[in-house]
Amino acid sequence: MTTYHAKRDHLWFLRNRTYTVFVARELTSVFVAWTIVYLMLVIDAGGPPSFAGEPWMIAINVVAFAATAFHAITFLNLAPKATVVRLDGWRVPAFMIQGGNHSAWLVVSGIVAFLVLKGV
């Protein structure tokens, strides 16, 4: 019996919003990698390297900041999916776990910023 098999859809990720957000989320990983490479250069140079002040470089790093922040938000939002926390049989709703994650993120960021800048 013949059946019809649809052809591969190469642009599937443009077909709806969730797909596009998904792909955007995954592509943040490129900037995660870039951020690490850049930070390695910072360590190597004992501070932001010489070209860091160039406008295009700052522009790239602004995008990298946006991407890593987007990564942080989406990743911390998805975390409760894998872990179902039950207290006394009551399932802790996702938004509370997410809220906890985001608060922790802000606290850690604050501490890091304090440590880095305290000698300045």
Binding site: V23, Y38, I43, G46, A52, A64, F75, L117
Partner: protein, 112 residues
């Protein structure tokens, strides 16, 4: 469906750990060292002094390696999905995770 041992659970744990590390540390670090300091908004911190402590240096190596693993994992799967190149998965995996590992080694060399 084949039944076989798989490395995925370990890779997934590294990926997840890296996701958390990247979420917690990267936005603030890139904001400081990539944008605010070069733009002159805040003063230039002394990186050598910050990494003086061995514990800090070790932590940096671990965090960087995990973040690179996270990125490697996503790049591997996303490129397979977007470009439909699942058949070269093994090669991609070697390149991606190998790259991440190499990054970790370089970080260690720089710091120690």
């Amino acid at each position: 469906m084949r039944r076989k041992r798989t490395a995925e659970p370990y890779l997934w744990l590294l990926f997840s750990g890296g996701g958390v590390a990247a979420a917690f540390f990267l936005p603030v670090l890139i904001l400081l060292f990539g944008v605010l300091v070069p733009a002159g908004v805040v003063g230039r911190p002394d990186v050598a002094a910050l990494t003086e402590n061995v514990v800090v240096r070790l932590a940096i190596v671990v965090i960087f390696t995990l973040c690179l693993f996270h990125a490697a994992h996503r790049i591997r799967f996303t490129s397979e999905e977007l470009l439909n190149i699942g058949r070269i998965d093994l090669l991609l995996a070697v390149v991606c995770y190998g790259g991440a590992l190499a990054g970790g080694v370089v970080t260690a060399v720089l710091l120690f």
